[in-house]
Structure formats: C-alpha cells, structure tokens
C-alpha cells in the first residue's frame, strides 16, 4: 500500500513538475499563432525528455554519479567547460524567467506590480533551498502544480469542434499568415521547452539527493513513463486553449495575462483561481529546480561537495553559488526586462546547448564500468541515436532560424 502510494505520489509530482514558464509561454504563443499545427513537436519533445531523463536517472541510480560529473569525466575540461558555460548561462536565464513568472502570476492575483514581488519570490526560493527537505519541496510544488489540469478542463468547457482540432493535429500545415521559417523556429522553441537541460541536471542530481539505488529503477521508470506524457498533455492543452480563444481574435501571446484568459473564458473565476495557483506553484517549483541546477552543475564540474541532504555548511560553495545566482536573477529582472521575452530566448538556447549534455549521457549509459548490467538495451540505443540526430539538427538550425525570423517576430 505504502509502495503504491509512493508510485502515485511520484507520478503526480512528475506531472505537476513538468510544466514551467517555458512550457506555459511557448505553448501559448504557438497555440495563438500556429493553432495545433505544432502539437507533434510536443510529442517528439516529450518522448525525448523521457528517454533522456530515464537514462540520466538510471546512470545516477546505478553509479551514484550525477549528470555533470559524467559530462566532465567524458568530455574533459575544455568541452566540459564550454558545456558548463552554456548550460549555466541558460540556467541563469531560466532562473530569471521562472522568478519573473512567479512575480507576474502574483501580480495577476493581487494587481500589485510584479517588480515588487520579485524580491519576495527570490527570498522565498532561497529559504526553501536553505531549509526545506528535498522530498517535501518536490512533492508540495509538484502537487500544487497539478492544479494546472484546469487547462485541460477548460478545453472541455470551451466545447471545441473536436473534429477540426484532430484535423489540425494530424495534418499539420503552416498557417497562411506565418512563414515556414517562423514555423520551424517555433518548432525548435517547443522542442527546447520540452527538453530543457536543467530538467535532466535536476532529475539526476535529485536521484542522488534521494539516494536512489538499483531497487528504485522501476519506480523512476514509472514516474517518467507515466508522469511526463501526462505533463505533456498539460502542455498541449495550454496550446489548445490559446488556439481556441486567442487565435480567432487575432491575438498573439506576449504576456502571461494572455495565457490565462482562455481558462477564465471556459471556467470562470474558479478556473482563474486554479490556474493562478498552478502557475505560481509550477514556476516556483521550477525556480527551485533551476536554482539548484545552477549549483549542481557548478559543483559537479569542479568536484565540490553538494546536495540539499547535507547541512549548508557542509556544501558551502554549492550554497554560495546558488545565492549568487538568485542575486544575479534579481538584478537582471530589476532592469525591467520582460520575463516572457527572457523565457522565449531561454528555450531556444536550451535547444542549442542540448547535444553536449545529451551525448555523454548516451555514452555512459552504455558503459559497463558505470552501469554493470543496467546498460542501455538495443531499442533504447536505437531511439537514442535517432534523438541524437534530432537534437543535433535542432541545435544547428536554431541560430540561423533565429536570425532569419528575427527571433520569431
């Protein structure tokens, strides 16, 4: 019984923790501009993150080594440092975006200007990282994030024409007012939003934090295999909501307030309450994850002592680096830069930096010195190679497309 409860909790947390500001914004932007013609990308991205998270989780559980230790060991210091710089920069952008997201959602709930919420949100993030136990932190934000299910509920309440929706999904085409270039650009953005590297850093380091071993592999596989696809459905319903309400009105999403309007349209004030709680929980949870990930990547690259399971004084540089990250995030937001814009860039940069993180994990997941008998199976490797190609193509195409489309404008 207790075990079953654990499995259920794990799945629910995986669903609630799947969506972050990147998914919220990117899916809403795409839904409002391209309808459902890019849903297939979310599916590709979700399968990718399942594959990737499952491998890195398995490596961490079997060998006790988290992702960035593996990256440094395999790529060596030079390529490893390049990866660290890129990943850390993207992480910092994402921390900034998530804290901004918390503040924007709180503004929608309170009408107090979001810049005033930013220090509050950042201090709250730090306090949780400083004091709260890892498992409590993950479960509370994950479960509260589940209220985002309201997006799916709203889709039903909006009473769409299901036949035409299915048609758009199954026979995707570029809408006439958009170019093939911006279509491709947003395809990469959606892919990056689903496969953000920080999720993998966090997932594998979390496995070490929670002292997973070989016996926990089944549980982790269920969490990923069930939780992530359901989380992906949430992402898709955000896009459907935007496609149903905003696209016909000629609105293209540029702010978080537009993201919630379809929910209010379908589910009224109660729906609004749910969606605001959900957004605060999801972005707050993701702010925790990204802040921790900045600490994890640095500590693992340089071999510092890390982990929330240690007293802060026993992982001093780890905690100091996270404090610095939060301060930098506050500083960036204080310039008045639009968090939604930061989000849109961060997901594309995520796609660019992905190969350097993905490749070492794919390789080590095949190395018996680390994995003993738990190396990748043939099917996983075949899929892994397909995704290596997809990830490389997305990474190489991202910057040219960004230039051609003027970042999708």
């Amino acid at each position: 019984m207790k075990r079953l409860l654990g499995v259920a909790l794990g799945i629910l947390t995986a669903i609630g923790g799947f969506v972050d500001i990147g998914d919220l914004v990117t899916n809403a932007v795409v839904g409002s501009r391209f309808g459902l013609s890019l849903v297939w990308v979310v599916v590709v991205g979700v399968v990718g993150i399942i594959l990737f998270a499952n491998m890195s989780g398995r490596v961490a559980a079997v060998s006790g080594r988290a992702t960035f230790e593996v990256i440094r060991e395999r790529l060596g210091p030079r390529a490893g440092l390049a990866n660290l710089a890129a990943s850390f920069l993207i992480n910092l952008m994402t921390v900034t975006a998530e804290i901004g997201g918390v503040a924007l959602a709180l503004q929608l709930a309170s009408s107090v200007y979001y810049l005033l919420w930013i220090p509050v949100a950042a201090v709250a993030v730090w306090l949780v990282i400083w004091r709260v136990r890892f498992s409590i932190m993950e479960n509370v934000t994950g479960l509260l994030g589940l209220t985002l299910v309201i997006f799916a509920v709203a889709v039903f309440l909006l009473k769409p024409d299901w036949g035409s929706l299915a048609g758009q999904v199954l026979a995707p085409s570029v809408p006439q007012q958009e170019t093939a270039w911006s279509y491709s650009y947003y395809a990469i953005a959606l892919f990056g939003a689903a496969m953000t590297p920080y999720e993998v850093f966090f997932f594998s380091s979390g496995a070490v934090e929670e002292k997973w071993g070989v016996k926990d592999l089944a549980q982790s596989r269920i969490n990923v295999l069930v939780g992530f696809p359901l989380g992906g459905l949430l992402s898709i319903s955000i896009a459907i909501c935007a496609a149903l309400v905003l696209l016909p009105a000629g609105i293209s999403v540029t702010s978080l307030s537009q993201v919630i309007l379809p929910v209010a349209e379908g589910a009224g004030k109660l729906g609004l309450a749910f969606v605001l709680v959900g957004i605060v929980a999801a972005t707050f949870g993701a702010a925790l994850e990204t802040t921790l990930s900045s600490g994890y990547t640095l500590a693992q690259f340089f071999g510092w002592s890390w982990g929330k399971f240690r007293r802060p004084a026993e992982a001093a540089r780890f905690h100091l680096s996270m404090i610095v990250c939060l301060l930098v995030g506050i500083g960036v937001l204080a310039t008045g830069v639009d968090p939604v814009l930061v989000t849109e860039y961060s997901v594309v940069f995520s796609a660019i930096a992905l190969p350097l993180t993905y490749l070492p994990i794919l390789i080590v997941a095949n190395d018996p010195q680390y994995m003993h008998e738990h190396v990748n199976g043939r099917a996983v490797n075949a899929l892994g190679m397909v995704y290596l190609v997809i990830i490389l193509v997305a990474s190489l195409a991202a910057i040219p497309l960004m230039i051609v489309t003027g970042a999708g404008s």
């Binding site: 395999r74 790529l75 060596g76 030079r78 390529a79 440092l81 390049a82 990866n83 660290l84 710089a85 890129a86 920069l89 503004q107 929608l108 709930a109 309170s110 009408s111 309400v245 905003l246 009105a249 000629g250 609105i251 293209s252 540029t254 702010s255 978080l256 307030s257 537009q258 919630i260 309007l261 209010a264 349209e265 009224g268 004030k269 609004l272 605001l276 940069f349 660019i352 930096a353 190969p355 350097l356 490749l359 070492p360 490389l392 990474s395 190489l396 910057i399 960004m402 230039i403 003027g406 970042a407 404008s409």
Partner: protein
C-alpha cells in the same frame, strides 16, 4: 565536427567553445536588434502588435462584465496590453521616414495608436469606477472597439502597399 568540440582534436589553444557560444549569442542578439525593415514594415508590425493588444483588452473587459475575471487579473491584463501599445507607439515615433508617403503613414499610425491609448485610458477608468459611475465598462469596450476598427483600416492600407 561542426559544433561538437567533444570530437574535435584537443590541440592546445583551440577556439574555446564557451567563448564561441557567447560571441555567437551576442552576435545573434546584436543582429536581431539592429535589423529593421522600412517604415512600412515597422508600422505594419506595430499595428499588428497593437491590434493583438486591443483584442486582448476587449476579451478581458467582456470577461470582467460576465463575471469570469477578477478585478486584479483584468486590470493587470489592461496594464500589460497598454504597455504593448506604448512600445509600438515609441517604435513608430522613432522612425525616420525618407519619403512624403512614409511620413504620412507614420503620422496616421501615430494617430491611430493614440486612439488606442485613449481607448485604454477609458477602459482602465471604467474598471477603477465600476460602481456604476462613468465611464462604464461598456463605454470602455466601445472606445476599444473604435480603436480596433481604426487599426484594421490602417492594417488594410499597409497591407495593400
């Protein structure tokens, strides 16, 4: 091997991927902010952005009237969209049109965007005095609808060119 330093020879003093990435990112951003089309292009973008903003505001007002949106969410939405209109307006304002035709277009666009801003002012005032005083929410919606029509006309005009 393209951008995978992992497979490249690790000879001393090779280009460092980290620096390369940063330079590329900065260059891309510089390019993005630096590039801009002619007056027609910029006006067209500004008009599109603003009509998206006005449409959003109208949805928010309607939802507020129907009791679907809280006051806080409605007023935040209006603030966000007003900001969008402001951004568009200052883009158009900063243009330096070369021909008489472009100067006329700029002038027209500024007039319409001012009308939008005025519409937003009415709508926000309506939200603030929602105890039945004036302006009422429907006044606000009317003002925004007027702005929306003007935007549409201008959009058609820019699109024709």
């Amino acid at each position: 091997m393209l951008n995978t330093p992992a497979w490249a020879p690790a000879a001393k003093g090779r280009a460092h991927g980290a620096a390369g990435f940063a330079i590329l990112a900065v260059a891309a951003l510089a390019f993005l902010t630096g590039c801009s089309g002619g007056t027609g292009q910029s006006v067209s973008t500004a008009v599109k952005d603003s009509s998206s903003a006005v449409a959003t505001a109208r949805i928010a007002l309607r939802q507020d009237m129907e009791g679907k949106l809280t006051r806080a969410a409605a007023s935040t939405t209006l603030d966000d969209e007003l900001k969008e209109v402001h951004t568009s307006r200052s883009t158009v304002l900063k243009l330096s049109p070369a021909s008489q035709e472009d100067r006329d277009l700029q002038k027209q666009a500024l007039d319409v965007l001012d009308q939008c801003a005025a519409g937003f002012a009415t709508a926000r005032a309506a939200l603030a005095t929602s105890d039945g005083g004036s302006p009422s929410l429907s006044d606000g919606d009317k003002a925004l609808a007027g702005a929306q029509d003007a935007l549409k006309q201008l959009e058609g005009k820019v699109g024709d060119k």
